[in-house]
């Protein structure tokens, strides 16, 4: 199999109406409205190979959901070219969606009032899955996600974590080669998150399922995805390996200090004046963080100066976290990497 997803010059524009201020403005709106065209997705290009797990990240309003909706055939693109599983999603919609699974973290795919297994049964018919296929595949899914005991409960009585696992199972009833996950772990606790990640890895290995994942939680991406596509204001600003992103942008280190005495940011800065270091104070954790270039000489100098000035309770040296890297990228704008 070659490419699961091919996207060329994809663009989606929305018309936005802005309302005028005040009562007078509102009356004017009655007859004509201010109209503005906003490109939510602005000429993006990328490809995803069969069997890849790709993280699709970006801030709110960056165009993540809009892209996913175009890739799943929900929205029609304004212009551009999409081929997913060898098809044009919005053209042969009914045939196309047979080959994908979709989970929207904030929207239920299951029927609210009926038991989970009834929903599964109905979906099984909807996707024309034979009993044999269903048994082979779903028994395993149900076991791995540990939802056996939930099957006879109505969806409205499930907790969020329970529901999410059922949603995931529901999206896989027809064992699609491509799975879209839009914020699948939003609001879930750590244990459920871990379970879901493990499961996703497993089906990826077992069936070569391609997975495109959007999430706010970068730990999901770190745990699952080799590759990330990063979006900002409707444009792809980075597309490549996660570790590459780290190597290039995570050039610094973080040194975390906790002090025995009360110290303020001002005096810490004064103590290390002359060193190329940036300080931050995390008030919740009572930690002072120093960002510094990754040079052994510099780091030891920094530590020496701090230790000389204050009594230290704890000290840690970290790689810059992915979140920090991404924040940096967004602050500095477009990335130009090879």
């Amino acid at each position: 199999m070659s490419n699961a997803i091919e996207v060329k010059n994809l663009r989606k524009e929305f018309k936005v109406y802005s309302s005028r201020k005040g009562l007078k403005g509102a009356f004017r709106d009655l007859f004509t409205r201010n109209e503005k065209i906003i490109p939510a997705v602005n000429d993006i290009n990328f490809m995803v190979k069969q069997g890849e797990m790709v993280g699709y990240i970006g801030e709110n309003g960056a165009g993540k959901s809009t892209t996913i909706k175009m890739l799943t055939g929900i929205l029609t693109p304004t212009s551009g070219h999409i081929v997913v599983n060898g098809m044009n999603p919005h053209k042969d919609r009914e045939k196309f969606v047979q080959t994908i699974g979709v989970v929207f973290g904030q929207r239920s795919q299951l029927w609210w009032d009926i038991a989970v297994q009834e929903s599964f049964r109905l979906l099984k018919k909807v996707y024309k899955v034979s009993d044999e296929q269903y048994d082979n595949h779903m028994n395993h899914v149900i076991k791995t996600l540990d939802i056996e005991p939930l099957l006879d409960k109505p969806v409205r009585k499930l907790s969020l974590g329970q529901r999410m696992r059922c949603e995931l199972a529901a999206a896989l009833i027809h064992n699609p080669p491509l799975l879209f996950l839009d914020e699948p772990t939003i609001g879930l606790d750590v244990l459920v998150k871990l379970k879901i990640r493990e499961f996703l890895k497993e089906i990826n290995e077992k069936y070569q399922t391609t997975i495109l994942l959007t999430t706010h939680d970068l730990s999901d991406i770190e745990a699952l995805c080799e590759r990330v596509i990063m979006l900002d204001e409707g444009k792809v600003i980075y597309d490549g390996a996660l570790h590459h992103l780290k190597e290039t942008w995570g050039e610094g280190k973080e040194v975390h200090f906790q002090f025995l005495e009360t110290v303020d940011l001002q005096s810490v800065k004064a103590a290390t004046a002359g060193l190329p270091v940036k300080w931050e104070h995390d008030e919740k954790e009572q930690v002072f963080i120093a960002y510094i270039e990754d040079q052994d000489e510099l780091i030891s100098q920094l530590i020496a100066q701090i230790v000389a000035a204050y009594k230290i309770k704890d000290l840690n040296i970290h790689e810059t976290s992915t979140e920090e890297i991404i924040r940096n990228i967004y602050e500095k704008g477009e990335v130009r990497l090879g």
């Binding site: 959901s65 809009t66 909706k69 799943t72 979709v102 795919q109 009926i114 009834e118 018919k125 996707y127």
Partner: protein, 261 residues
């Protein structure tokens, strides 16, 4: 064939959920009965002050009303899309619909079945029998079949119009209140068409052809052969309007812009 199996799948699912709330069905049935009897009361009260309405007798008018209730019942059981805009566009439920391999409109129809609406057909038939027996109407062997064809035609007219109205949501982003008000207009198909002026007659026949839900097909059974042509094209009009509405829907879905963000 697949679509027929799906219909039955959803129907059985529907029964399961509905039977959990039996009292609701009862309450709804009675409120339906009430709104149907209001219309009867109107007819009865009005005929306390006149003998003929545009040349039609009381029993004829009641018969037309009874007929009207049957396709209306079929419509309300299967085309429960009053709140399409709120439920599917504003809340974005259409996203979910569009990720499934069944025609989107058909899925919505399946999800929103309200089979108890069919009880109205019983009321309608009872009203027809009452009025028909007072007038001494007789039936030919083929009349029941024509009745079924006319009912389907009328229901398709109704469904077609309301689907077209639902499609407005794809183009206009403001909430529209046309749907509940259209219900008022639809009621005028149950009065003899000749009491209206030319323009309205034209509208009720060709633009919003509600006359094909009530007065036209019903007048066939009343032996009013001056309207025979219209009676007989009822199924045709139904098919045409329904097809139009589906074409429009398919265009509309392409314009759908999704909720949120």
């Amino acid at each position: 064939m697949f679509y027929v199996t799906m219909l039955f799948q959803y129907m059985s699912q529907y029964m399961k959920t509905r039977l959990q709330y039996r009292t609701d069905i009862l309450v709804e049935f009675f409120s339906d009965l009430l709104s149907q009897s209001v219309n009867l009361i109107f007819i009865l009260v009005v005929f306390g002050h006149t003998d003929l309405l545009g040349g039609w007798t009381r029993d004829e008018i009641i018969f037309i009303y009874g007929f009207f209730l049957v396709p209306y019942a079929v419509f309300s059981a299967f085309f429960n899309i009053w709140d399409f805009n709120d439920r599917y566009i504003v809340k974005g439920e259409l996203d979910r619909i569009l990720t499934r391999p069944i025609h989107s409109l058909f899925q919505i129809i399946l999800e929103r079945l309200e089979l108890e609406g069919l009880l109205g057909a019983i009321t309608g038939i009872a009203v027809m029998i009452y009025a028909g027996s007072r007038m001494g109407l007789t039936l030919s062997w083929y009349d029941p079949f024509l009745f079924i064809i006319f009912v389907i035609g009328g229901a398709l007219v109704y469904g077609g119009i309301f689907i077209i109205l639902a499609c407005i949501s794809f183009w206009a982003d403001a909430r529209t209140s046309i749907m509940p008000m259209m219900y008022n207009i639809s009621n005028y198909g149950r009065y003899p068409i000749n009491i209206y002026n030319k323009i309205i007659r034209f509208v009720l026949t060709w633009i919003l052809p509600f006359a094909f839900v009530g007065v036209y097909p019903a007048s066939y059974f009343l032996g009013r052969h001056e309207l025979l042509f219209y009676s007989l094209i009822t199924p045709l009009i139904g098919v045409v309007f329904f097809t139009l509405s589906i074409l429009l829907w398919n265009q509309g879905v392409k314009r759908y812009r999704g909720a949120g963000n």
